[in-house]
């Protein structure tokens, strides 16, 4: 992948999200939240792609890192009352970074003990780790435990969401598409051969986990300050699976594919919901003729995934032979 203009694109994307943010000042409610969700899913999927897709470490605990970032950033910002714009943004920056770093630390804690595990065993351990985080949070009265944590400030906006999404994409792409970054893929393809070629597979795996977790933590912080209420159960195994599906659907190790998959899979449930809400269809009597879609939404979603996996296991968006 040629990244000659990567930095320009990054700055352009950040500028665009700033403009979008200023124009959306008067929009609120559900559509805006869907937009935030797209950005957050993007960050989660692209960061997970670094671990699962590029480095081949099958991690099923990404939601756990998100939780660490969400709660850490919320705890920090909850300390502050009303702030003016500059102070708010400063505090938010700090809180997001802190959440990311806390999550990165968690990523190191997961990455190091799992170094010798492969495939299924790695998946189970990362899954367990995600659950451990969830249970710890559930029993931590200081952050509300099972009753949940209220987040005072709803500081997430389009600028933060898509600006940070652009940064995430840039970092992962820039990292992987360099001589250094080929090491991640080498470790995935053949770890023994990679070691024999001087590639420190340990370092690469741990780096992938730490960087991936960092951005998951950032996504968590954005999520916390959008929805403004956190519960430990909201970051369970099913959420991790949702992001793994995005990575697989996009094509493991295909950043653009994963971006498209993240957008598609975030919009799909919304699209189905809209279908269910259609008031009238020509030729069919009665209101909301497709209301049954609401109840079968998850079934349709799952069936779609099964069909896609059977027909295009290499991912929806893999355009050419994988020789990246």
């Amino acid at each position: 992948m040629n990244l000659r203009h990567a930095k320009t694109v990054l700055l352009g994307a950040i500028a665009l999200s700033l403009v979008a943010s200023l124009f959306s000042r008067h929009i609120s409610g559900y559509p805006l939240f869907v937009a935030y969700n797209i950005g957050i899913s993007l960050i989660m999927a692209v960061s997970l792609n670094l671990i699962n897709g590029y480095t081949g470490q099958f991690s099923l605990g990404h939601a756990g890192f998100m939780a660490v970032g969400a709660y850490s950033s919320a705890v920090i910002t909850n300390h502050f009352g009303d702030l003016n714009v500059f102070a708010a943004n400063a505090v938010f920056t700090f809180a997001l970074l802190a959440g990311g770093l806390a999550a990165a630390l968690a990523g190191l804690l997961v990455g190091v003990p799992t170094l010798r595990l492969r495939g299924d065993y790695l998946a189970i351990v990362t899954l367990g780790f995600g659950e451990i985080i969830r249970v710890i949070l559930q029993n931590m009265e200081a952050v509300g435990g099972a009753r949940g944590l209220s987040v005072t400030h709803g500081w997430t906006n389009l600028f933060w969401t898509f600006g940070l999404a652009a940064v995430t994409v840039y970092v992962v792409a820039a990292l992987v598409n360099s001589t250094y970054g080929r090491g991640f893929i080498a470790v995935r393809d053949d770890e023994v051969a990679a070691e024999a070629m001087g590639i420190n597979s340990t370092k690469y795996k741990v780096t992938a986990f730490a960087v991936g977790a960092f951005f998951a933590g950032i996504a968590g912080g954005l999520y916390a300050h959008a929805i403004q209420f956190l519960t430990p159960n909201g970051f369970g195994f099913m959420l991790s699976i949702a992001y793994v599906v995005m990575v697989i659907l996009g094509g493991m190790g295909n950043t653009i594919g994963v971006i498209l998959a993240a957008i598609l899979l975030t919009l799909l449930p919304e699209g189905l919901r809209m279908l269910a809400d259609i008031e009238h269809l020509p030729g069919i009597a009665g209101s909301r003729p497709l209301s049954w879609v609401e109840n079968t939404r998850m079934i349709i979603y799952s069936l779609l995934l099964i069909v896609l996996m059977l027909t295009r296991p290499q991912g929806l968006f893999t355009l050419r032979r994988r020789s990246r």
């Binding site: 990244l3 990567a6 930095k7 970092v171 820039a174 990292l175 360099s178 001589t179 250094y180 970054g181 080929r182 090491g183 893929i185 080498a186 995935r188 393809d189 053949d190 023994v192 051969a193 990679a194 070691e195 024999a196 070629m197 001087g198 590639i199 420190n200 597979s201 780096t207 190790g253 032979r321 994988r322 020789s323 990246r324």
Partner: protein
Amino acid sequence: MSALLQLDKATIRFGGLTAVSELDLQVGCNELVGLIGPNGAGKTTAFNLITGVYQPTAGGIAFDGSSIVGRKPCQITARGIARTFQNIRLFSSLSVFDNVRAVFHLHLRGDVRQALWRGRAFEREEKSIADRVMELLEIFQLGRFRHEPARSLSYGDQRRLEIVRALAAQPKLLLLDEPAAGMNSTEKVELTRLIRFIREKFSIAVLLVEHDMQLVMGICERLVVLDYGLKIAEGTPEEIRQNPKVIAAYLGE
């Protein structure tokens, strides 16, 4: 001058099985040494010992003057030993170009942050690496395949690519594990030429494990013969050819 690679009574036991027993092996700078023996003699195990995949149960292994026992494979490669594998182990999803490029991370002067910042220094270094990769590929007539995924190459080309990849590490010692396996006689002649060429052009030592006696006798300066983990003979191809112990080991007694 002491040898480049020195194994000193290197031993490895797997439970009750002694795969390599008190092996004394030396390879000097720019020497071409062959390691031969019947199947199961411990040749690949010896390679794995040298490259750090296994740690010796006893004995010493020294390279370029210092001990490499306990070092990880990636560290040993950084010190100047590179290898190929018996069953080709390329990075299958990477292109031919990237297979070689990945190894150049050993020679990177910038670090990770440079890759993120992507300043002029980074671009310069990436360009320099790209040039050096192409140079290597061209020498071995693999340049035209540079964008092809490595797994799409023919068997012979894949073997050649694996050797090129090992050379990208700029080793002082090259370990070739049965490079002629699966080749026909024409390809073997070509391989012989290739090994001689590599040794001359890159001034490196080569330690070769091979079953094809004709190839081995024709190219190696010195041979070391293993049988059941023990060194049973060492000498020039002439001496080995007539050694009764070697004949017995191969033909059985």
